[in-house]
């Protein structure tokens, strides 16, 4: 059953992606100043949204773990965080490539880029923390606490684009930026396949957590014998 859902999600994501690529490359008009490269935005921005969605799911899951003490929530937290990190990396790298072309620089320490990189490093620290704890219950507890602390950074990243006039382009989605409506729509429309893909990856990762727990149980059984 789960296999079928996974394949369905991936297939749907693929189809939407194909359709979007078609529209992106052939139908949407070019941007006046940048040429073709601006189309990176349709992956750059939704990737960030997907990453934040992942971190938010991790937050909720962490809180639920601390309340209910069910290790499944811990599994969901780590899965969502890992997938969030992957899409966060997509955001950072596409941003760097775009920046190199448009501004001539790979990086700058403005508020937006700094806070996004820090956010990424923070959640990478979450994964590192998990590796430092052996006992599953203690690991889940510490990781959950850290996830709650880490999420405080996410609103800062989100609002940094609004609060600080920086190198990074101003807000387009809210805050009165101007963007061609067709492009605007595509921004959201391309988010859907990325979210579907993220869900599929989280499901895959969740299954691995279950397998890991099964292995733990078997190992204890083997010890007992």
């Amino acid at each position: 059953m789960r296999e079928k859902i996974l394949i369905a999600l991936a297939a749907l994501a693929g189809l939407l992606l194909a359709r979007n690529l078609y529209v992106m490359l052939l139908e949407l008009p070019d941007e006046a100043a940048q040429g073709a490269i601006y189309r990176i935005i349709f992956f750059h921005v939704p990737a960030a949204w997907t990453a934040f969605a992942g971190f938010f799911v991790a937050l909720v899951s962490s809180v639920l773990y601390l309340i209910r003490h069910n290790l499944r929530y811990d599994a969901l937290a780590v899965s969502a965080t890992e997938v969030g990190l992957a899409f966060g990396a997509v955001n950072l790298v596409t941003g760097m490539i775009w920046g190199r072309i448009i501004w001539g620089i790979w990086w700058t320490w403005d508020a937006r880029l700094t806070s996004m990189l820090i956010c990424w490093l923070l959640y990478a620290g979450y994964l590192m923390l998990r590796r430092a704890v052996d006992d599953p219950t203690q690991r889940a507890r510490f990781a959950a606490v850290f996830s709650i602390f880490a999420f405080v950074d996410v609103p800062i990243v989100w609002f940094s684009i609004k609060w600080w006039r920086t190198q990074h382009p101003g807000p387009v989605v809210w805050g009165g930026g101007s963007m061609d409506p067709a492009m605007y729509q595509m921004l959201f429309f391309n988010w859907i396949p990325l979210l579907l893909l993220a869900c599929a990856l989280v499901m895959l990762r969740l299954r691995q957590e279950e397998t890991a727990r099964e292995i733990e149980a078997l190992r204890r059984h083997a010890h007992a014998l």
């Binding site: 040429g35 073709a36 992956f43 596409t94 990856l201 397998t211």
Partner: protein, 52 residues
């Protein structure tokens, strides 16, 4: 269609998908390792239970 920066756009797209692909590969590798461990343990347990 504007040819300017077309190549760079592809680099950008490629980078995005490369990262996702790398993560999927990491997941698949981990899956294989876990499955191997699971089978080994199961095998070992069966072997032990068969002993008198």
């Amino acid at each position: 269609m504007d040819e300017r920066n077309f190549l760079y756009m592809f680099y950008g797209f490629a980078a995005a998908w490369l990262i996702v692909a790398l993560y999927v590969i990491a997941l698949v590798r981990r899956e294989k390792a876990l499955r191997k461990q699971l089978d080994r343990l199961r095998h070992m347990l069966e072997h032990q239970e068969k002993k008198p």
